[in-house]
Symmetry: C3
Subunit: 319 residues, 3 copies
């Protein structure tokens, strides 16, 4: 297991110590997380939506970049596990008061933190913190720069498994701004690890990373070709700043070429599901008819996301 020790999120005996990225997690580990999440889906449907698993634990939402939505999902998951949650929005301005990120983390650790949920605009921030903290403290990456957003990737896998049962017979298309997406990378790794034989990315050249084929995906620039006979369509959010930038002609042009409409979706398998990590830009990357249509599983993704975050927290706290 020597090779595992190079991965900061796994302990020396291969247990999940932090969740930083889906890269490096094997299929068994991914399945264990999904199975654990399955047991938590029911908790949120109960009258009393709580289990005492993390009672008295101190979980810190350490957000160096604001994200009300992501922060809320982790806060809900933690409170359903009965943990105490502390929200810290650490803006660039407060950081300019001179304290380093590691001093902030050390101080919170000295207050007997059990877990940090880290969101940061810079890639690698959660890794940096994870490498620094004492072994009894767990770090979850809630999005770092363009790099990773592993709980989003995991909830996507949960959703696919929920609707499609198996991975080994699927054709999955990821459509849109793969280049700037912290989600796409996580998804591609998870899909290939779980045995999906055909992962496609559909995007204009300007929104694809260099040598994306090396990640084991097939590249399409034409949506009609790319969506042909797929089982799962994963739409990516097009960030506003891209629309205003030089990479794209206009939101209207983008929608025409890469926005998901009922007409384009008809090229996929009849029972194909449509996913989106949210928040959606209706009329830019996805048509409202599709977003609210019967193939859309966008809201179930959100529901499963709570269960997946509860699963990750409880697995980490148990290790």
């Amino acid at each position: 297991m020597a090779f595992l020790s190079n991965n900061p999120q796994l302990s020396q005996n291969g247990e999940l110590q932090h969740l930083l990225t889906i890269e490096g997690l094997n299929a068994g580990m991914l399945r264990h997380i999904l199975d654990t999440a399955e047991s938590f889906v029911g908790v949120s449907e109960r009258d009393v939506k709580k289990v005492p698993l993390l009672r008295g634990k101190a979980i810190f939402n350490l957000f160096f970049e604001p994200s009300t939505r992501t922060r809320t999902t982790f806060e809900i998951a933690a409170k359903r596990l009965s943990a105490d949650v502390f929200n810290l929005n650490i803006s660039a301005s407060s950081q300019s008061k001179g304290e380093t990120v590691l001093d902030t983390v050390d101080n919170l650790a000295a207050m007997q933190a059990d877990m940090f949920i880290v969101r940061h605009a810079q890639s690698g921030a959660a890794h940096f913190i994870a490498r620094h903290v004492a072994p009894h403290i767990h770090v979850i990456n809630a999005g770092d720069g363009r790099h990773a957003h592993p709980t989003q990737g995991l909830l996507d896998m949960y959703t696919i498994r929920h609707y499609k049962k198996e991975f080994h017979n699927l054709r999955v298309a990821i459509v849109g701004d793969v280049l700037h997406s912290r989600v796409a990378r996580s998804q591609i790794h998870a899909l290939t690890t779980l045995g999906v034989p055909e992962v496609r990315v559909i995007a204009p050249k300007t929104l694809l990373p260099a040598q994306v084929e090396r990640m084991g995906v097939q590249v399409y620039h034409d949506m009609k070709q790319g969506l042909k006979d797929v089982d799962v369509v994963i739409m990516l959010r097009l960030q506003n700043e891209r629309m205003r930038g030089a990479l794209l002609p206009s939101a209207q042009e983008y929608f025409k070429s890469y926005g998901l409409t009922q007409e384009k979706l008809a090229l996929a398998k009849p029972d194909a599901i449509v996913m989106h990590p949210g928040p959606m830009n209706r009329g830019v990357e996805i048509d409202s008819n599709v977003a609210d249509g019967k193939q859309s599983v966008i809201l179930p993704q959100v529901t499963f996301g709570i269960a997946v975050r509860m699963a990750v927290m409880s697995i980490l706290a148990g290790n």
Copy 2:
């Protein structure tokens, strides 16, 4: 009961599904809320200020317009009922990221929200959300534009009943900026529904809605005439922007004509009570002597407000 189904806050069998406005609630419903609140007043006086009625419920303070005070009263009420509370301040700037209000609401609903406390600068926002959500989710309007702020109206009724026992023999004066008040409208509806025979509004013409008489009130422009022999004086907050606007000559002038002083209050009945929804502009709409005087029940209003909000939440969650 067919006529009730036109009111989005009542279920088909006439039960309270949402609390959006006092309009449309009959006297029986209002009394039921006040009676329930009475049973909660004691909880806040206990050593352990909590009952487990809403344990494990997820209540979201969905504030599209900031209001620390209002948010705090709902947060206190929810925590005293043992619910889990999530505070979301959704500024105009975050909404500009492209997600619609309904997408935000759908996402939170998918996280298994049980209740939304909605504050929004636009009239009708809470109605809009209530019409959209699934039947098991309850919406409380915590203030929408100039329209309604029903829990404030209810706590005012609770306060009046607490001090005056009955409604059918009362003369009540509402003084000040009726035009821009989200509270005055709720109060007038509640008072007339509960059988108050004489409701007066006292204000300059510029601060009265057109055809206010149609709401069943008597209009006075002179405070000394209007306060004569009343049992209850409800002062309204004069918002700063009005003072700076063209509607009023100056804060000093306003105080002289419509500010409540001991001298003017002496024209009311000797046991008249003085109410104010807060926050007060001392020296503008109310003199400090009166605000802190022995006829003032302004702070008891705040205390009863917690009990009333607990009552509304527990009634909604029980339906």
Copy 3:
């Protein structure tokens, strides 16, 4: 005990009613707080970091000046005592809406608050509030202007006692911006009250209050002389605004003269401990080697700070 009644933080029978400043607390009272804190250190090390002592109590973090770090320490302490915590950041802008500080406090008191943790930029704000509230409500000063920050002073005493066991045989040096520090004043009072025979302050003249000698300290302007044979070195934070101001030539110059390096620390006793209230300016008042070195007890200070705040809250709530 008549003299005690002049101190707003002590009740007529000499019990702690509020914690506003260390001034006026006798050695017995200080030792009682430290002893109580000792019993709470263990709580934070447990698997379930909670005791039910303040269950159902409503504790308000009333921050008129933002301080994420200080707010968090009180929030953690309160939640470990099972209290309900409400965070209110009351910016200058919201205060400009016309409500006075005392009206805000009265309103929260009417919501059955049990305790206010007050942070304010103006000296005396917490005293002002404490003098105003009803006897069953307790106020803790979490920093007021340059004046006091008593829980910081208490956690420093706890830390010194933890490592040095006794106070009566110690030489303690406080180094840096004594003039603008809300902490230094609290520390000097506590140290002299607990019987430390020799308290030194080391600073340039521009960063010392007039007639600081009257507080019972020895003044040094040269760090090498001042640190000679001390048991405890307390470094103060140099605030950025001082560095940019006219009081100091430059951060580099300051570090050369008053920054703590290994070389200067070698002049203290070999087992001297190094303390800092945080957040640190590494390379300005303290060298990273020292901050992270084996004589540093800066992170244990943070840990003890939670226990001290739990102790103060539980003592106040019990009185």
